[in-house]
Every structure is written in structure tokens, then in C-alpha cells.
């Protein structure tokens, strides 16, 4: 750590392909992730685009039933496992956690690289399944359809998801050990930024839930190969057991997707309100509470599955409980605006957009947690709207906000603010136009996973598809101007937003070893003028 002062940034630390593909630097690995998840996002988005186009007319005329089924499966699998789950943790968590903790790297840098390779391998296997003809099970792989009746590339897809799962597990493991052992000397748990808290909690879920998915997929594959197993009702097995195991992972997985987003927003809002986050401790506890309680509610996906009605009651009540800490967070973000000095810069627009769309998506989660309403709207577009509000409206908004917020740190360049604000506004409106009509569709009885539908639903579907076009433009814009700014943008100072976190104390972009001198722990990451002292 002695000669760091003369060293260039991590970006200048080698320009060859090898210097990227064999790097152990968490910052470079973050870039590798950013590039690969963007590719998968485009792929998943393309599938969604074709689906929206198909749904413009009630007849299934653009693509047939089989193709449509493969499209929504590909879309769900790619968006969930290859885009959203790795998005914020693997890109921004990787880049920022060591910086925020004042560490040189993650605890296990080589494992970090391995984790990226596993991710890419899993992704390629999944794409291979698509190229060979696709899969038509839905991202939920319900048995016995997936084991006994589907005639598509189920096993290859399962294997791809399985491998990707190990990438998640290794990332989670790395983060947990890093947070426990590599905090700067003197940095206590409650001196950590909420973004680190959120990724820590996410990692706990990654590590404890993902293996359950992995073994479940093994059971599924074995059942498909041998033609017998523990899920197949033909021999006395139980398809609901599969659903329990699948959702035991997949419900916590939705918090894998949203907790890091909450962490991002908890950094952006204080910065652009220039005051300390309101109720820091409560926010940290709420994050942990969501992570733990999130393991208790999976059965709310099974209210009409033939699950016992006692289980339905229990899971319904627990689902209401898990919503409480989310509500706390919404209130605290808003309270952080009180007596701040607010600048509505692009990251802030994304963050506020997140709060609004998450609140609406979360509130509709309460509709679904109510038994009688769910009996009516489960497996309809109401559910599709609910989860897109949180995952696309919420988490993707937050991911974009984070990209903008930390862009100067990552690349050392500023992006064009006007364009960025325009894109944020476009995404917000495009998103609402795409997905709000789906709530109405769902309550009126439009089932999901239908490529053709009764004509009375057409108006709403057309609105939704129109919105999707706007949304697509909104997503492509940042790709263009951010790409431009990487090469042509104005150089950024170490702390262009007047933020206070440790990551802003080093140069932009940071040097390979992050800090020229070991920064002291125990400083307040939210020491803003309006909140820190007064």
C-alpha cells in the first residue's frame, strides 16, 4: 500500500482481454457482470417485446401457442435468474462494498471471479436450451408438466439455472465474509451504509435459499430422467411438495431482488436531500426483518393449489406481517425528505420513482395476501402487474438510479444530465402505461400465460403494449448516452454529488487498491450538512 499515490485507476491496470478475464479486482469483475447482465436484459426484453406485440390482437396470430409459451418461459427465466437476481448485488455490490467498508477487495477475490464464470456458464447453458428449441414450462417448472409432459429442453435449462445458482451462492458467501471480517478498523456494524446492510441481508438469503432451489432442480431432473420420483402422483408422489420447495426459494428470492434496490435508494435519497437518512437503525432492523420473515411466507403462492386451508390461513397472516417492515421503509424514505435540501437530479428521480412504484406494487401484494382476493386473481394479469411493479418498476428503476449515481465513480465521467432526466421520466410513464392496465385486466379475469384472449380485453392489452414501446425507448436511452459518456463525458471529481460515503473519498475512478491510505472506520456515512451536526 505504499506506492499507491503514483498508481493509475483500476481501469488503466491493463488493457488486454486477459487483464479483464483473469482479473481478481472486484471493480473489474463488477464491470464484467454489468456487461453480461445487460446482454441478458436485452434478450429477456426482446422476448417480452414479442409477447406484447402478440397480445395486441386477441387471436394468437403473430406467434402460435407453442412459441408464446416458450417466450414467456425464456423471458421469466432470463429476467429472474440472469438479470434481476445478479443485477444490483453483482454489479454495484461487487464494486461498492469493499469501497464502502474501506477494504482493498472482497474476502475471496478468486472466488469472486469463479462466481462470474459460473454465472456466464449457467447463462450460456440456458441460452443453448433456447437455441435448441426452447422450453415451455414457465419459469416455475411446475411438475408433473415439466417432468412428464413437456417435450422441450427442460433438463438443459434446469442445469443452466442450477449452475447460475452456485454463482449466486458464492457471491453471497463472499459478501457475508467480507462484511464480517473486512470492515475498516473501528467501523462498527451501525457505521455501515444501508447499502451494505441490504447486500448483507440479501447474501443471507442467497446462501440459505438458493441451495434449496438447486436440490429441487436436481430432484426434478432425476424424476424426468428416471420417470419416477417423489413428485409424480402416478406413483403416489406429491406435486405440491415441489411447489413448497420451489417457493421456499422463490419467495425469498423476490427479496433478493428488492432488498439491494432498497439499499440503493437509501443512499441516493439522503445524498440528494443533503441530510442524514431518517431512522437509520430502524432501517437496518427492517432490512434484517424482511430477510428473515421472507422465509416464512412462501405458501401464499399456493392458495388455490390444493394446500390445506390451515396452511393458507397461516401463510396469509405471515404475508401481512412481512409487509410491515417494507411499510416502515417507505415512511422513512419520505421522512428523509423533510427539512432536506432537495435536488431532483436523475438518480433522485429514479429513487423517487422506485418509492412510488414499490409502494403501489407492495400494496397490491396485500391484495394478493388476502385469501379471497387471491382466489380470484391468482394466475391472472393482476399477479403479473403486481410483480412487474416491484421488479421492473421498483428494482430495475433502482438499478438504473444506482448506475447513474455511481457512474462518475465507476467510470470517472459525468453523463449528460438532461438526457438522464428525460429517460427517467420516460421510463416512469412508459412503465405505468404498460403495467397499470394489467391490474384491471387481472381483476376482470384475464389469465396469465395466454397468447389469445377474449376480445373484450383488447383495449387494455393495446394500452399495455403501447406503454411497452415507450418503456423500451426509455431503457435504450441510457444505454446510448451512458455509452457515449464513457468515452466523451466530462471527467468527474472524486465526489461530484457532495455525498459522504467512504466510496466518495477516493479518486474517480478508484485506484486498483481502492484507497491510497487505509481510511479510518467509525465515520458517519451520512454526515450531511443538514443532518450530521445540527
Amino acid at each position: 500500500m505504499s506506492t499507491l499515490a503514483t498508481q493509475g485507476s483500476y481501469l488503466q491496470d491493463g488493457y488486454t482481454l486477459k487483464s479483464w478475464l483473469l482479473t481478481h479486482d472486484h471493480k473489474r469483475i463488477a464491470i464484467l457482470y454489468a456487461v453480461s447482465i445487460t446482454a441478458f436484459f436485452m434478450l429477456g426484453g426482446a422476448a417480452a417485446g414479442i409477447m406484447r406485440l402478440e397480445l395486441v390482437t386477441p387471436q394468437g396470430d403473430l406467434v402460435g401457442d407453442d412459441t408464446y409459451n416458450k417466450l414467456f418461459t425464456a423471458h421469466g427465466v432470463i429476467m429472474v435468474w440472469l438479470f434481476l437476481i445478479p443485477s444490483i448485488p453483482s454489479v454495484l455490490g461487487n464494486f461498492l462494498i469493499p469501497l464502502m467498508l474501506g477494504a482493498r477487495d472482497l474476502a475471496f477475490p478468486r472466488l469472486n471471479l469463479l462466481s462470474w464464470y459460473l454465472y456466464v456458464a449457467g447463462g450460456l447453458l440456458t441460452v443453448a436450451a433456447l437455441l435448441l428449441g426452447g422450453v415451455d414450462t414457465g419459469w416455475t417448472f411446475y411438475t408433473p408438466f415439466s417432468t412428464m409432459f413437456s417435450n422441450t429442453h427442460v433438463i438443459l435449462t434446469l442445469f443452466g439455472v442450477f449452475v447460475t445458482g452456485f454463482s449466486s451462492i458464492l457471491t453471497g458467501l463472499n459478501f457475508i465474509v467480507t462484511v464480517h471480517t473486512l470492515r475498516a478498523p473501528g467501523m462498527g456494524w451501525f457505521d455501515m451504509p444501508l447499502f451494505v446492510w441490504a447486500n448483507y441481508a440479501t447474501s443471507i438469503i442467497l446462501v440459505l435459499a438458493t441451495p434449496v432451489l438447486a436440490i429441487t432442480l436436481v430432484l426434478l431432473a432425476a424424476e424426468r430422467l428416471f420417470g419416477v420420483g417423489i413428485f409424480d402422483p402416478a406413483l403416489g408422489g406429491d406435486p405440491l411438495l415441489f411447489q413448497h420447495l420451489f417457493w421456499f426459494y422463490s419467495h425469498p428470492a423476490v427479496y433478493i431482488m428488492v432488498l439491494p434496490a432498497m439499499g440503493v435508494v437509501s443512499e441516493i435519497i439522503p445524498c440528494f436531500a443533503q441530510r442524514r437518512i431518517f431512522g437509520y437503525r430502524m432501517m437496518a432492523y427492517a432490512i434484517l426483518a424482511i430477510a428473515v420473515l421472507g422465509f416464512l411466507v412462501w405458501g401464499h403462492h399456493m392458495f388455490v393449489s390444493g394446500q390445506s386451508m390451515y396452511a393458507n390461513m397461516v401463510f396469509s397472516m405471515l404475508s401481512f406481517l412481512v409487509a410491515v417492515p417494507s411499510a416502515i421503509k417507505v415512511f422513512n424514505w419520505l421522512s428523509t425528505l423533510y427539512k432536506g435540501s432537495i435536488r431532483l437530479a436523475a438518480p433522485m428521480l429514479y429513487a423517487l420513482g422506485f418509492v412510488g412504484l414499490f409502494a403501489l406494487g407492495g400494496l397490491t401484494g396485500l391484495f394478493l395476501a388476502s385469501l379471497t382476493i387471491d382466489v380470484h386473481v391468482t394466475d391472472t394479469y393482476f399477479v403479473v402487474a403486481h410483480f412487474h411493479y416491484i421488479m421492473v418498476g421498483g428494482a430495475v428503476m433502482a438499478y438504473l438510479g444506482a448506475l447513474h449515481f455511481w457512474w462518475p465513480k465507476i467510470t470517472g465521467r459525468l453523463y449528460p444530465e438532461g438526457w438522464a432526466r428525460a429517460a427517467a421520466i420516460l421510463v416512469f410513464f412508459g412503465f405505468n402505461l404498460t403495467f397499470f392496465p394489467q391490474f384491471l385486466l387481472g381483476y376482470d379475469g384475464m389469465p396469465r400465460r395466454y397468447h389469445s384472449y377474449p376480445p373484450e380485453f383488447q383495449v387494455m392489452h393495446v394500452l399495455s403494449s403501447a406503454g411497452a414501446t415507450i418503456l423500451a425507448v426509455g431503457y435504450l436511452l441510457p444505454l446510448c448516452y451512458l455509452g457515449w459518456s464513457w468515452f466523451r463525458g466530462q471527467p468527474a471529481s472524486p465526489d461530484p454529488w457532495h455525498a459522504r460515503g467512504l466510496e466518495w473519498q477516493t479518486s474517480s475512478p478508484p485506484p486498483t487498491h481502492n484507497f491510497a491510505v487505509q481510511p479510518p472506520g467509525g465515520r458517519d456515512p451520512y454526515a450531511y450538512p443538514d443532518g450530521g451536526e445540527s
Binding site: N151, H180, L225, L241, L245, S308
Partner: protein
């Protein structure tokens, strides 16, 4: 130094003997007709053996509370999975009216796995 190594090995050997004894007793108990008790005995003994391995061989007794917490948290999650699934499984209404429902047959081997 050697003396302390010997002391350590003696403790480990004692644990080993205990494990073997427990293994013998679980086999023995399995041969006695205890009804539901068989399963319970097997589970309790397995838990005891696992506890010994965890505490001594894997050194969970030592300092680091975080390691113990990791172990407890993961076991707790597994327990939650089993317990809440059981609420469903054990709470289902018994299927009635079997005989009045038309018999169900299923197509055999409708696909080749891919």
C-alpha cells in the same frame, strides 16, 4: 507440546468411542420392536451424534459465536421448511368419495427426456 497434543487426542478419542457407542445403540434399538419409538430413537441418537461431531470435531465449542450462529440459523431455516410444509401436508382434508369419481388413467411414457 507433545503432552498437550496427547491430552487433545485423548479427548478426541473419547468422543470417537462415544460415537461408536451411540452407533451401536442405534442399531440395537432399531432391532427392538418399539413401534413409533424406533423412528424417534433413531432421530434422537442421530442428533446426539451430530452434536458431538459439531461441538468437538468441528470445534464449534470454541470462541467465535458467529460460527455457531451460522450453524443455528441454517438449521432453523431447514426446520421452518419442514414445519410449515407439514402444516399443509398434515392439515389436508382426507380425500373422500374416491369410488364415486370416474377412474383416472394416464398416458404412458408420453415423451423422451431432453
Amino acid at each position: 507440546m507433545n503432552a498437550s497434543l496427547h491430552a487433545e487426542l485423548r479427548v478426541l478419542a473419547r468422543i470417537w468411542i462415544a460415537l461408536l457407542a451411540l452407533a451401536a445403540s442405534t442399531i440395537g434399538l432399531a432391532l427392538l420392536p418399539l413401534g413409533k419409538g424406533n423412528a424417534a430413537a433413531a432421530l434422537v441418537i442421530a442428533l446426539a451424534k451430530a452434536g458431538l461431531v459439531l461441538a468437538w470435531f468441528m470445534e464449534l465449542r470454541e470462541r467465535y459465536p458467529v460460527l455457531r450462529a451460522t450453524c443455528v440459523l441454517s438449521a432453523a431455516m431447514l426446520f421452518i421448511l419442514a414445519a410449515l410444509s407439514a402444516v399443509d401436508y398434515l392439515g389436508r382434508a382426507p380425500a373422500t368419495l374416491h369410488d364415486t369419481v370416474p377412474a383416472v388413467d394416464r398416458p404412458s411414457a408420453p415423451f423422451t427426456p431432453r
